[in-house]
Symmetry: C2
Subunit: 248 residues, 2 copies
């Protein structure tokens, strides 16, 4: 299954992506976690160090994606990337797209094109999961990085801005052939907040995660939420992961 | 003064940008608020409707920014844009860069190039303020939209991810000639959280804003924080705005 996590900045995409990846890996699934956010924070939710980002493979990227005249060739050879440039822990692997190295050095379009080709190329066996954590907002949908993914989970917190972005993401996701889109409400402290999100989204929720101080503590300690067995947020993400597997 | 607000997604950039804009406008300053985030949420913090985004001026953008062969010409004629495509309230104006119209329609590089040229072109008189609210994260620093701005305010909440992104933003900002960079701590509930941010950032804080339920309520009601006179967050942003004016 190819799964992408999307939503407004700060709603909890990275924490949820990393936690779902760890839950699935613990269940014995092969999991490839992919960080396409130039802020490169996913590793901390997984308890891994960042591997060499594919954006640092400049020669390789140029050789494989840039044709004469500066246009991008969108089908580079990518077979070897996951093995050579990933961090691993048992059956979980992490690759990161990379970052902006220098102010004024340009957009991340070449890296995005390369990542998109890599992800499209990957054929997953049954019981293998690709989990893509995107950068905040909607530009990745213009770039179509998650084209034809099986599932998009849009994370939403109780705020109008988060709801507006979630609905925009939903609309755009239908245009790049994502097969199914579901929502997850996060940082919920009251029933009214959950109802607000439910009533405002143009698509269905598959679960709700309470506001949980453990998430903040884990972040400050650089300790994955997954390592806090008593966390209610973790318990709910386990339920959501089960639902995702049933969708598969 | 040309001012840019930056930081991780969800730290409060848009609320703070909009509130500073309203405070300065109330003081009688001419203020141009600019939303370069494709999620286009700044208008709601200002209590305005979104004007026609400059990205919808496709013909104009193509005519003025794209040269033969697809390269971008970075000095379009822009004199007429602010008047024709802005929302106004007294001495406050808003322009928005625009959004991704359609999934898979590409990056926002042409729009970014156009906006960058527009902002570079604008010569401000004393007591005029340009306030740029950026998209989450760091790609705008690669694109150099805020090149040579007078001041960058990096907003940071008490989380390791927010601190990491803030320090990355700081490093990149030095490379695009931003004259001064300062930090603002947001969503603070304890002294320890403020100390954590102070001790983790590679640059100085000019103020701290408490976690304030009014911010959430205002967002849900689509009512600017500025219209809640008793809000402690608003009071602190007023103090921060005063400091910003002294920097100028």
């Amino acid at each position: 299954m190819k799964l992408v996590i999307s939503g407004k900045g700060g709603v909890g995409k990275t924490t949820i992506s990393g936690t779902i990846a760890l839950i699935l890996a613990e269940k014995g699934k092969q999991v490839l976690a992919v960080d396409s956010d130039p802020s490169m924070n996913l590793h901390s939710s997984l308890g891994l160090e960042n591997p060499t980002p594919i954006s640092e493979l400049k020669e390789l990227i140029n050789e494989r994606t840039v044709m004469e005249g500066g246009a991008f060739k969108l089908n580079p050879k990518v077979d070897d990337i996951p093995t050579d440039f990933s961090a691993k822990k048992d059956n979980l692997s992490l690759i990161v797209m990379g970052t902006v190295d220098k102010g004024g050095s340009g957009c991340i379009c070449p890296e995005s094109a390369f990542l998109k080709a890599l992800l499209r190329h990957l054929v997953l066996k049954k019981d293998e999961f690709l989990i893509l954590d995107t950068e905040a907002g909607i530009e990745h949908l213009g770039r179509n990085i998650a084209e034809k993914f099986d599932l998009m989970v849009v994370v939403c917190e109780p705020s109008k801005k988060a709801v507006d972005t979630a609905n925009r993401v939903y609309k755009l996701s239908k245009e790049i052939g994502i097969k199914k889109v579901v929502g997850v409400a996060n940082k919920i402290t009251t029933d009214a907040q959950e109802e607000f999100i439910k009533g405002s989204l143009d698509f269905k929720l598959i679960g709700s995660i309470p506001f949980d101080d453990t998430v903040i503590e884990g972040d400050m300690q650089r300790r994955p939420l997954y390592t806090y067995p008593d966390s209610q947020a973790l318990k709910n993400i386990k339920g959501i992961t089960k639902t995702i597997q049933e969708i598969d």
